[in-house]
């Protein structure tokens, strides 16, 4: 595209002659040229398009941009010599003359209030779901006829037995590492045998429940969310509602019960494999005979350690299931929201596990010590 000043330009009516194809490559030149030397108020800007053979949407938009500039600065813009093909394009593209002003941004207090109200609603929604699901789960234990046992067993198999491999491997390695690291220190004092006590206590009290919970949150918490969110997006939950099939009984309760029954079992396995890891380090690296090591392990553990560990894992399971359900059911919109909800679910579940674990440590070993 070429752009030249017309010889007929006067102070009152400036004319620009355009030639060639007015498209995305030529258009910026036009806008720049007009802006560089703005026509005065009440003057006229004539764009001579008689030599313009074609115009695309970018070119049209530029013409509109110049028109708006004129509208704002008080000069008129006219087109001259528009060719039939160009005119067709100009008729095809449509613009809204009065652009609505952007909505006013909410003020500080308004957005603070909105955030607080949103948080109150979210907590409310969570509590309702928590109450419904927990009550439903307890009820179904006393009225076994209501319980969807097939769903429960399917969920248990996925959350429990299929998680054994990964939970077992990770906690075994944790026990191994724990024993190695503590052996390095304890050996200096000739107290290598205490590796057994240290590994046993830290596995049963902390590492077993905690690592299992984190793994289960990443594995099953996320799958609860993605499954429920997919159901929500596919209108399956709406369908259940109009079919009179309660979501809580059909979906939430079996998942919750499977989670709270499988997690303590997984934790027991995790404890045992962690201790096994420590035992192997004791035998191979520290040359402690197998029997004294095991004896020391049993001596170190008290019932309270096991009970508190399992209680914790039960509470973690309850929280992971609820958080998973809550994030899943709260999804709005399309499929891309499912991924976001799943991520949010795992992050908040792990956050919950760690905060709850700290609180339990204080309660069990400070308050109840």
């Amino acid at each position: 595209m070429t752009l030249t000043e017309s010889p007929q330009s006067t102070a009152h009516a400036r004319a620009l002659v355009l030639a060639g194809v007015l498209d995305a490559r030529g258009a910026p030149e036009l806008a720049k040229r007009v802006r560089k030397r703005l026509p005065p108020k009440k003057s006229k800007l004539v764009l001579d398009l008689s030599a313009v053979t074609a115009i695309d949407s970018a070119g049209t938009a530029t013409l509109v941009d110049v028109w708006r500039l004129g509208h704002a600065r008080g000069f008129a813009v006219e087109l001259a010599g528009v060719q039939p093909d160009v005119l067709k394009s100009l008729q095809e593209f449509r613009v809204t003359v009065t652009v609505p002003p952007p909505a006013a941004l909410p003020g500080f207090f308004e957005s603070l209030g909105a955030t607080a109200w949103g948080a109150v609603n979210a907590v409310g929604g969570f509590l309702v779901l928590a109450a419904d699901t927990t009550v439903g789960a307890v009820q179904s234990l006393f009225t076994p006829g209501r319980m969807r046992w097939a769903a429960y067993f399917r969920e248990s198999s996925v959350m429990g037995s299929q998680a054994l491999g990964i939970v077992g491997l990770i906690t075994f390695l944790i026990g191994l590492t724990l024993a190695f690291q503590s052996a390095y220190q304890l050996r200096q004092f000739g107290a290598a045998i205490y590796v057994a006590s240290l590994t046993a206590i830290s596995m049963v009290r902390e590492m077993g429940p905690l690592i299992t919970a984190i793994l289960v949150a990443g594995r099953s918490g996320s799958s609860i969310t993605s499954e429920v969110a997919t159901m929500k997006v596919g209108e399956e939950i709406d369908a259940m509602q109009v079919m009179g099939i309660p979501f809580v009984d059909y979906v939430a309760v079996p998942k919750m019960l499977a989670m709270v029954t499988m997690m303590p079992l997984l934790t027991i396995i995790a404890d045992l494999l962690g201790i096994l890891g420590g035992w192997i380090v004791g035998m191979v690296y520290l040359d402690i005979a197998p029997k004294p090591y095991l004896q020391k392990t049993i001596d170190a553990l008290v019932t309270k350690d096991l009970v508190t560990g399992l209680f914790k894992s039960f509470v973690f399971a309850w929280g992971i299931a609820l958080i998973g359900l809550y994030h899943g059911i709260g999804v709005r919109g399309g499929a891309q929201e499912v991924g976001k909800a799943t991520t949010a679910s795992v992050v908040s579940a792990i956050f919950f596990i760690i905060v709850a674990d700290s609180i339990f440590s204080i309660i069990f070993y400070v308050v109840m010590a």
């Binding site: 813009v77 006219e78 005119l87 100009l90 449509r94 209108e235 369908a239 109009v242 009179g244 099939i245």
Partner: protein
């Protein structure tokens, strides 16, 4: 049309009065009224974003309602005790946009689910009923397939079979022909007509598909910008000469009255000779 001569009030099966729905500060439905009579095929139509799906969800109680009420088969649905609501919901069937089949169940199990949940039938009778319903929608061969193994049209038909499982008095369909090829869509329309004619079912359809509207609709409710633009028997609405209705039937559905001008008009150019 089929029921034009009967008593005025008693044959009303769906009644919507002053329904208002808000999402945040955005009012999606404004005081919508609708009356559907027994045995008619009512089409709710409108462009995208017009509020027709929200109206659909509002009628079924799937969205929070700011004002107004809905009565189905003479019962107001809001604040209905759970038991009564369940019983009422068993008298209606709903076909959702993509079928909304449960992914963990086969097609047959999906259709059997409402039967198992709400009817005490021997297993043999359930199996027989499931096969009957699937045959009705031409899906006899797909009983043991999972929803993920079906095409979009098959999923929709399976959803219809499930919606029909309890022999509902009213069938609600959300965009039954969306995403279907014209032939499959026409099949579905024919099926809906059969249901009305043979089983005296009332059908409420949300759609923007012109071909399907022309094929099945007895009466229309046109909605735009969250408000009712026109309601009544098909012929009467068409005869009223409402601009939005005419535009819609001229395949130019727009959700809001246009406020834009062409760039040519902006510059005061006359249209080309013989042009629009």
């Amino acid at each position: 049309m089929t029921t034009a001569k009967t008593k005025p009030e008693s044959d009303v099966v769906v009644e919507v009065r002053g329904l208002t729905v808000r999402y945040g500060s955005n009012t999606v439905l404004k005081h919508v009224d609708m009356t559907v009579h027994q045995g008619e095929i009512r089409v709710i139509l409108g462009g995208s974003g017009s509020g027709k799906t929200t109206l659909f969800k509002g009628i079924l109680g799937l969205t929070d309602v700011a004002a107004g009420h809905v009565a189905i088969l003479g019962q107001k649905t809001q604040n209905l005790p759970e038991k009564q609501r369940d019983r009422l919901m068993q008298r209606i069937g709903v076909l959702f946009q993509n079928g909304a089949l449960f992914g963990s169940l086969t097609v047959g199990e999906n259709v059997a689910l409402p039967l198992r949940e709400h009817r005490r039938l021997p297993e043999g009778a359930i199996a027989e009923l499931v096969r009957m319903k699937l045959a009705q929608v031409d899906l006899g061969h797909a009983e043991n397939l999972y929803p993920s193994e079906l095409s979009g049209g098959m999923r929709k038909r399976a959803g219809l079979a499930r919606a029909l499982a309890l022999d509902p008095e009213i069938l609600f369909c959300d965009e039954p022909s969306a995403g279907l090829d014209p032939l499959t869509s026409a099949d579905l329309d024919r099926l809906i007509l059969t249901l009305r004619d043979r089983l005296k079912m009332t059908v409420v359809i949300v759609t923007h598909e012109l071909a399907s509207i022309k094929a099945v609709a007895d009466s229309l409710l046109m909605i735009g910008g969250g408000k009712v633009i026109a309601e009544g028997p098909m012929a009467k609405v068409r005869a009223q000469g409402i601009a939005a209705v005419d535009e819609f039937f001229a395949r130019k559905a727009r959700t809001v009255a246009r406020q834009d001008t062409s760039v040519a008009e902006l510059f005061g150019l006359k249209p080309a000779k013989g042009g629009a």
